[in-house]
């Protein structure tokens, strides 16, 4: 594996010719792959556990609010879009615009946390917990694990926003910004599987 070469190549990747390495830092990509593996194991465990008690899962899924899930999908996808726009803006040396897009992404992320928080509050008020049944064990674990990733991703976005405002990134020196952006897109990607699996399919 010549992963080593890409790591240094990446530092000043100007992305004019066909890019060889993925945007951002190799170490971050390694981390992302590990995270995706965690979620894959979780999703598969959910799907397999469901086959053992289809009726329970079908009934319990009815107690979730698909509107909240859909709204959260809109929020996360939109925030991903904002981050993509932010990277483009910074690449084009429009730093103020870039910072504003990041702020918009943060706002969407905050909206996600709020909606999810309300859903949790609703369930906890009904006395639902990890030991209620297998479905809720999975629902709470899976979504809360993802929730924590949104929190972490927002911290990363906040750091990026700060960095953009202070002019840390510019064309040819985007690795840090791209690494954070890629992480955020990963959080979005995971939700794009989680939403249909938990809210839609039954």
């Amino acid at each position: 594996m010549d992963t080593s070469a890409t790591m240094t190549l990446n530092q000043d990747d100007t992305v004019e010719a066909a890019p060889l390495a993925p945007p951002g830092d190799l170490a971050v990509w390694f981390f992302i792959l590990a995270e995706l593996l965690v979620f894959a194991v979780f999703f598969i465990a959910y799907a397999v556990a469901r086959t053992h008690d289809v009726a329970l899962f079908a009934v319990m899924q009815q107690t979730l609010d698909p509107d909240a899930g859909a709204l959260n999908t809109v929020l996360l996808v939109s925030s991903s879009w904002c981050v993509a726009r932010a990277v483009l803006a910074v690449d084009g040396a429009r730093l103020r615009t870039g910072a504003r897009w990041l702020l918009a992404a943060l706002a969407c992320g905050g909206g996600f946390l709020l909606v999810k928080g309300l859903e949790y509050a609703d369930k906890f008020a009904e006395g639902i917990g990890l030991s209620t049944n297998t479905f809720y064990m999975f629902y709470l674990s899976l979504t809360f694990f993802h929730f924590m990733h949104v929190v972490l991703g927002m911290l990363v976005l906040a750091v990026l926003w700060h960095g953009v405002r202070r002019g840390h990134y510019r064309r040819g020196r985007l690795s840090g910004l791209e690494s954070g952006a890629v992480y955020w897109h990963m959080v979005d990607l995971v939700w794009l599987v989680l939403f249909p699996l938990v809210y839609v399919l039954h």
Partner: protein
């Protein structure tokens, strides 16, 4: 040696190796007692030999970690140690307290020891790995705090590198989680629950941070790869370690009376615990392949690569082997656990401490690296000990599989002792392999006394 005060690491390393020898001797005694039940009875009963074997392991690794920190921190912080005198004083206190504790184990019946040392005041004894008398536990805390004060002050006044911060985080975590050894609820579920906060969160949590920091330090030294690159990997590795390791505690919560969701959490997250170890192996090989200098200390490089591979196998693969709840239902507390324990401790912690000793000792003795002859001998000891440990692990795994089969899986299960008779062949093989390990250790120690052409310290 760049800073005079790094010299305090030397007695720590020497004590560590000395106690390591003791640990192996008691391991051999115990290994023989598996097949010759009354060997050395009543002088050293099995339970005492086991206690000494495991306690010595932990104590010598702690000596190794402290020595490593005293060696690394001045160099990382680019300043002399806050107080070398305090470090030396703590060395003697820790050594004497440790020795007295072992003497106590060996000479006084455990119950009497408990009575003599004030266990009535605060009951903390009698739990696996936390058998130390109250005064020893308090002593450990005092020594740990003085040690942490010393190195934290050094870092505060000097350069703050990622390696130093990760090391500090690991060492502070080690001290903080040890405090749970004083908490002994009368409810056995809660007792076990928090007991794992010491045992598991040490070896699969904060100790891994120490491991990562030590490995990163040695890799920077022997490969000359940019600190930035190495530190980046260190961050990725410790984050993965913390995510998988902390929630992975759940694999101990399958059958002790804790809620059922732990079976899922424990299974899922501990299935991922091999990832950080895998990352560590990739990291070590990657850095050595990209080396920018040919460091004369080949032995240290070998230990660094070895710890990556063996930690991945022992902690990662052998851990995964039995952490899924449906598997663990059968294998819990069998010889498979012992197989995992041996290779994981050797691969992750013994090897990384020997790695830093291998790197630092020549420097402490005034040369960049040992003579070629001494290094060849050290590498022989590496292979002897490592291969012996691989076979110990394989024999114990075979014993474990047979044990599970006969005692738990069969339609006509055998009793525990009857099963033990059936697997005694593997215990014998393990014992002989243990002797090979001891020979490897003797060769290792002998390598310190080999003379020959050496280069002056850098």
């Amino acid at each position: 040696m760049q800073y005079q005060s790094q010299a305090v690491a030397k007695p720590y390393f020497i004590a560590a190796i000395g106690l390591f020898v003791g640990q192996i001797l008691f391991g051999l005694i115990m290994g023989l007692q598996y097949v010759v039940g009354d060997f050395l009875f009543p002088e050293i009963p099995f339970n005492v030999a086991r206690m000494v074997h495991t306690n010595l392991l932990i104590v010598w690794l702690l000596f190794g970690f402290m020595g490593a920190a005293y060696y690394m921190i001045p160099e990382e912080a680019e300043t002399e140690l806050h107080s070398p005198k305090l470090a030396i004083a703590m060395f003697w206190i820790f050594l004497v307290a440790g020795a007295l504790t072992i003497v106590g184990y060996l000479t006084v019946p455990y119950a009497t020891l408990a009575e003599l040392t004030g266990n009535d005041l605060l009951e903390t004894m009698g739990r696996e790995f936390l058998e130390q008398p109250l005064i020893t536990k308090v002593g450990i805390v005092v020594v740990a705090l003085a040690f942490l004060f010393n190195i934290s002050m050094t870092v505060l006044k000097g350069r703050k590198t990622s390696i130093a911060l990760v090391l500090l985080l690991g060492l502070w975590g080690l001290a903080v989680f040890f405090l749970f050894s004083f908490y002994n609820p009368s409810n056995p579920v809660l007792d076990k629950y928090f007991w794992w906060w010491v045992v598991h969160l040490w070896v699969e949590g904060v100790w891994e941070l120490i491991l990562g920091a030590l490995l990163a330090f040695v890799l920077i030294k022997v490969t000359g790869v940019d600190r930035e690159v190495i530190e980046k990997w260190l961050y990725v590795i410790i984050t993965l370690t913390l995510i998988t390791g902390i929630i992975g505690t759940g694999h101990h919560y399958f059958w002790i009376g804790t809620p059922e969701y732990w079976q899922w959490w424990g299974s899922i997250f501990s299935a991922l615990e091999p990832i950080p170890f895998f990352a560590m192996t990739v990291f070590a090989f990657n850095m050595v392949n990209r080396r920018r200098r040919e460091h004369p200390n080949k032995a240290a490089t070998l230990w660094a690569l070895g710890t990556g591979v063996m930690a991945f196998l022992g902690a990662g693969v052998w851990g995964f082997l039995h952490t899924l709840a449906p598997v663990n239902y059968y294998t819990h507390g069998s010889q498979i656990t012992a197989a995992h324990g041996h290779m994981a401790f050797y691969g992750a912690y013994v090897m990384v401490v020997l790695c830093i000793i291998s790197y630092a000792m020549p420097v402490l003795r005034g040369r960049a690296a040992n003579s070629n002859k001494a290094q060849v001998m050290e590498m022989w000891s590496f292979w002897l000990m490592t291969i012996a440990m691989v076979f110990i692990t394989l024999f114990l795994t075979a014993a474990g599989i047979l044990q599970v089969w006969l005692q738990r899986f069969s339609d006509t299960p055998m009793s525990f002792m009857a099963t033990q008779d059936q697997i005694s062949l593997f215990y014998w093989m393990r014992e002989w392999t243990g002797v090979v390990f001891l020979i490897g250790l003797v060769v290792y120690i002998a390598s310190f006394f080999v003379k020959g052409e050496t280069r002056a310290a850098a």
